[in-house]
């Protein structure tokens, strides 16, 4: 069995680095860097949002887009995600839904003013244990998201789903 760890934890490394900078440049820079790190932790949800919901331009991965993309974006372990939407538009356009290109939609959510081109992947009849088999549905949709610090951190599949049911 050849196993090499995929991603080393960077936090210890970062702390050591910070201590060194603190010694060299004093408290001022330390505070700035600490603030950057804190923002970094807030941005973690934005990273998750991008990993799960942003694919622009739409990846050219052959005829089984959903099966390939759901695995590549880490949404099939340990349990298959049953529904997931990929948005095919720029980060700027998606982020703007948190600002002037979106409107409040209740429950702290925001709905886009324009329709986005999306692909919604829905699991077929398999169980939720991998391998996961999906079917894809591409269409223009209004998106409903939640924002923190002006960045999207949550995609509301429930809303997309309701629209699909209505149409």
């Amino acid at each position: 069995m050849t196993v090499v760890q995929w991603r080393y934890s960077s936090s210890h490394f970062l702390v050591a680095e910070l201590m060194m900078l603190f010694k060299r440049f004093g408290l001022g820079l330390f505070i700035v860097l600490a603030a950057v790190m804190m923002l970094g932790t807030f941005a973690a949800d934005y990273e998750t949002f991008l990993r799960q919901h942003y694919d622009n331009p739409k990846s050219n991965v052959g005829n089984r887009y959903c099966n390939t993309m759901m695995v590549r974006r880490g949404m099939t372990r340990p349990k298959c995600k049953e529904v997931n939407t990929f948005i095919h538009d720029t980060k700027n356009e998606i982020n703007a839904v948190c600002g002037n290109k979106g409107e409040p939609f209740g429950n702290g959510l925001r709905r886009s003013l324009k329709q986005f081109q999306v692909t919604t992947c829905t699991m077929k009849g398999t169980s939720t244990r991998p391998p996961c088999d999906y079917r894809g549905n591409s269409s223009p949709r209004y998106i409903v998201i939640a924002c923190e610090n002006g960045l999207p951190v949550h995609f509301d599949e429930g809303q997309i789903y309701r629209y699909l049911m209505m149409i």
Partner: protein
């Protein structure tokens, strides 16, 4: 062990995308430790979604001969990589499993691999080439492999446009007395009804085949009837038959029913995504009810089943003692249908362990019956109710049944059910009071921080044995996030899946 290894990731390679894997992979590695004591013959390599530059590939190739199984799934491999793998096949007698699915090998890549496969040194048993951009052109060489390689027991060729001609070439290989193939996977291969004639000849003469997957090929009723006849007349002891999305209607059901009642070897039967309807299901159920039928898994998702079909299925659920799993996902069963199914679940003879009911048009109105069925049923382990508008009220009712001492549920899926924080108190009670519960899914809900806090509090309870709390696309603020993250440190076996 295989399952464990599948969760571990090898990383000699460059990540295909920066976010290819969830952190869980790393965690699994740390908590389970590194199996250093394994002999070379038992070694497994499992890499997914990573690309190799020339030097990393060279480095990897130099280690490949020590592995018994190699999985390089979606690794950006092409013809040049096949040259190295082909030499490996012709030299490494230890290699028994090779999975190269989701790589653009193309016909020329597979032709190169076949050279290695045809070498007498090669002892490969299982070969995966799913979604490798193959056409009929490589099937000639694969036919030769099937004819000469009696070690080969599994061949996975799904998601390749092999077409009628490709399928025919493969069947010629299968007909050879040398061929001992047990599992053939040909889903999404653009096979047609013309392929069934050749396949039927195989089934009439050979007995080795145990698993046959022909899903997502436009076969139609006439071809399926032909196939069933061959299964009935031949020596074949098929264990798993998969005919999902094959344009089957109720017209094939009599023949399929005859297979069910005459083939006690058959334990898995998947015909999802076919317009079978209630009349068709009634005929299939007759086959299942035959004492000769030993079916364990019935996959009947998106089969146009409604309430009358459930009446028949309830009898099967209640009395068929071999039946362990049934999927009725995507059928408009409605509350009326669910009432019937609950009768089956209440039958003391039922042995059903898994019931899949996602998107079945259920509402809160049927949840009291589900609850009372759960309170007398001690065999059901998995209940998947996602995508039904049962709401908080429905979930509260279901939780009542789960809390009953009889209920031994291990996995409960309630995503996309219009849930809010209101149902979380009931869910929290289940988490604390039901030590059998290992998986709880509340994805796509609006439980918010309030709901998350309640669930976290319950997970902290020492009685809670929950392994996975599944919360895909569910929103909470960073405050609730801290609570969730703290849980993972508190209970190493517990994981929030987002």
């Amino acid at each position: 062990m295989t399952v464990l290894f599948r969760t571990l990731k090898s990383c000699l390679a460059l990540p295909r995308v920066a976010w290819a894997f969830p952190r869980a992979a790393g965690r699994a590695l740390r908590s389970w430790g590194f199996p250093e004591g394994l002999e070379a013959s038992k070694m497994e390599l499992d890499i997914q979604c990573q690309e190799f530059d020339a030097s990393k590939w060279k480095e990897l190739v130099s280690t490949l001969n020590q592995h018994k199984t190699i999985r390089l799934d979606d690794c950006g491999l092409g013809v040049s990589h096949c040259e190295d793998l082909s030499s490996l096949l012709s030299t490494s007698q230890a290699l028994t499993e090779l999975n190269l699915s989701n790589n653009e090998l193309g016909d020329s890549g597979v032709d190169v691999l076949c050279k290695g496969l045809l070498n007498p040194n090669c002892n490969l048993q299982k070969l995966w080439l799913r979604n490798c951009n193959l056409t009929k052109a490589c099937c000639e060489n694969l036919r030769s492999v099937l004819k000469s390689k009696s070690s080969l027991t599994e061949l996975h060729l799904g998601d390749n446009s092999l077409g009628t001609l490709g399928g025919k070439a493969l069947c010629q290989g299968l007909m050879d007395p040398n061929c001992q193939l047990q599992s053939l996977q040909l889903q999404y291969c653009e096979l047609t009804k013309e392929n069934i004639e050749a396949l039927s000849s195989v089934l009439l003469t050979k007995s080795s085949l145990q698993t046959l997957n022909l899903s997502n090929n436009k076969l139609g009723d006439a071809a399926v009837k032909h196939l069933c006849q061959a299964l009935l007349d031949g020596p074949c002891n098929l264990q798993s038959l998969q005919l999902e999305s094959c344009d089957i209607t109720h017209a094939s059901c009599k023949d399929l029913s005859a297979v069910l009642s005459n083939k006690p070897s058959l334990i898995e039967f998947c015909i999802g995504e076919n317009r079978i309807g209630d009349a068709g299901i009634a005929i299939l159920c007759q086959g299942v009810q035959n004492p000769n039928c030993k079916i364990e898994k019935l996959w009947l998702w998106e089969c146009n089943i409604t309430a009358p079909g459930c009446k028949e299925l309830a009898k099967v659920i209640g009395t068929k003692e071999t039946l362990k799993e049934i999927s009725l996902l995507g059928n408009a069963l409605t509350d009326e249908g669910m009432e019937f199914l609950c009768q089956g679940l209440k039958d003391p003879k039922t042995k059903l362990e898994s019931l899949w009911l996602r998107d079945c048009d259920l509402t809160a109105a049927c949840c009291k019956s589900i609850s009372s069925a759960l309170s007398v049923n001690s065999v059901l382990k998995e209940l998947q109710m996602s995508g039904n508008c049962i709401g908080d009220e429905g979930v509260i009712d279901i939780c009542e049944g789960v809390r009953s001492p009889n209920c031994k549920l291990e996995s409960l899926w309630l995503g996309q059910s219009s849930l809010t924080a209101v149902c979380c108190e009931a869910l929290a009670k289940v988490i604390v009071e039901k030590p059998s519960l290992l998986e709880l899914d509340v994805s796509y809900s609006h439980i918010g921080d309030e709901g998350v806090f309640k669930l976290c509090e319950a997970v902290k309870n020492p009685n809670c044995n929950l392994k996975y709390l599944i919360l895909y696309d569910t929103y909470w603020t960073s405050q609730a996030d801290k609570e969730l993250k703290a849980l993972e440190g508190l209970k190493p076996e517990f994981q929030v899946v987002t």
